[in-house]
């Protein structure tokens, strides 16, 4: 096994949570490296640089508010036919199964609110897709807001935590978040439909899921039953003095 520095070898230690996690999350070495380019990668690199130094030490003053952030790209973009002045795309995002150790603290969708197709300009926004039902309302937790430090001018971030938590998070099995990306042509221009269909290959939106790791608190609770902390807190110094 010497000369095979691979996490596959570490699978022999299945009790280690880190190893399980790596085995689950990591693409196999034989598998080609997933291609992630463009704005999603730039966004996450900037988020990383703001949250950790070049050696990977988390910054003291980081404002990320979570210990894990997952950027999810849409499974496929489907450009729909023109509906009046609206150009609409359906975006599906696959959400992984819930894991008890991670608590979802925030979910946002980052999208382009301005699209330039050749010389045509479109203004866009995103709406969660909800089944036609009079009781269904979408109310985003906050208004769409652009954050100049992480996003370029054409991108906007919208909080959809409430929507995900209420409608999707507790579902078991495969969960798909469906969003509608809706664009309107600016006055005096008319986008050629083939240009609109061409946007299906562009990065126009991605999902950000913020989690906190509850492992530490669970671990501590398991190690120290109720009352034990007090015992160890007071007792240990006494015992130390006696031993010395």
């Amino acid at each position: 096994k010497v000369g095979q520095p691979s996490i596959a070898l570490l699978a022999e230690a299945p009790t280690l949570p880190l190893i399980w996690e790596l085995l689950e999350d990591v693409p196999g070495k034989q598998q080609s490296k997933p291609r992630v380019l463009g704005h999603p990668l730039r966004y996450m690199l900037e988020l990383y640089q703001r949250s950790a130094d070049m050696h990977g030490h988390p910054r003291e003053n980081r404002t990320i508010g979570a210990t894990m952030v997952r950027l999810v790209r849409p499974l496929a973009n489907v450009a729909k036919p023109l509906r009046g002045p609206w150009y609409i795309q359906t975006l599906d995002f696959a959400l992984r199964p819930n894991r008890a150790l991670y608590q979802l603290v925030r979910a946002t969708v980052v999208y382009r609110h301005q699209l330039h197709l050749n010389r045509y300009h479109l203004s866009c926004h995103v709406e969660p897709w909800v089944q036609k039902n009079p009781t269904n309302h979408f109310s985003p937790s906050g208004r769409a807001s652009s954050k100049p430090s992480l996003l370029s001018k054409a991108w906007t971030e919208m909080d959809i935590t409430q929507h995900i938590q209420q409608r999707l998070w507790k579902h078991k099995g495969r969960r798909i978040l469906r969003l509608q990306f809706m664009c309107q042509q600016q006055k005096g221009t008319e986008v050629v439909l083939r240009h609109w269909h061409g946007t299906a290959s562009l990065d126009i939106a991605f999902l950000l899921l913020y989690f906190n790791d509850t492992h530490k608190t669970v671990h501590k609770a398991k190690l120290l039953p109720r009352g034990m902390e007090e015992f160890t807190g007071r007792g240990s110094s006494l015992l130390l003095r006696r031993a010395r």
């Binding site: 990591v26 693409p27 950790a52 790209r73 010395r244």
Partner: protein, 125 residues
């Protein structure tokens, strides 16, 4: 009463024979994710400094080593009662986390802070 214990224990002092550098301490160590075979999915950082602890544990465990009561007792047992019971070992005491940016198999990008990834200080236990 460390001094009196020392004088009562027969045989040469292991501490006295060892140079200062061989005592339990933190050793800086850096490795690249390429060397670990993980560079195909880790985007940042490129280098990882896990460090390690190495060295002999002294006969009398001083405060700075943060040894637990058990280690102190085990040392005494080794010295005074039964040498088959080993001396405490030099192991990491405090750790700090590392932030990693990685690509998942499905193309998602993950920022994650992994706890206890870098040894920051050592202890005898």
């Amino acid at each position: 009463q460390a001094g009196s214990i020392r004088s009562e224990v027969p045989g040469p002092s292991r501490e006295r024979d060892k140079p200062e550098s061989s005592q339990c301490s933190l050793h800086p160590f850096q490795v690249s994710f390429h060397q670990l075979g993980w560079d195909h999915w880790i985007i940042a950082p490129h280098l990882y400094t896990p460090n390690y602890c190495k060295g002999t544990c002294p006969r009398v465990l001083r405060y700075g080593l943060n040894s637990p009561n058990h280690a102190i007792i085990q040392n005494l047992v080794n010295e005074l009662v039964d040498q088959r019971v080993p001396q405490p070992s030099c192991v990491p005491y405090k750790y700090v986390p590392i932030s990693i940016l990685l690509i998942e198999a499905n193309g998602s990008i993950l920022y994650k802070e992994y706890e206890d990834m870098i040894a920051q200080s050592c202890t005898c236990r």
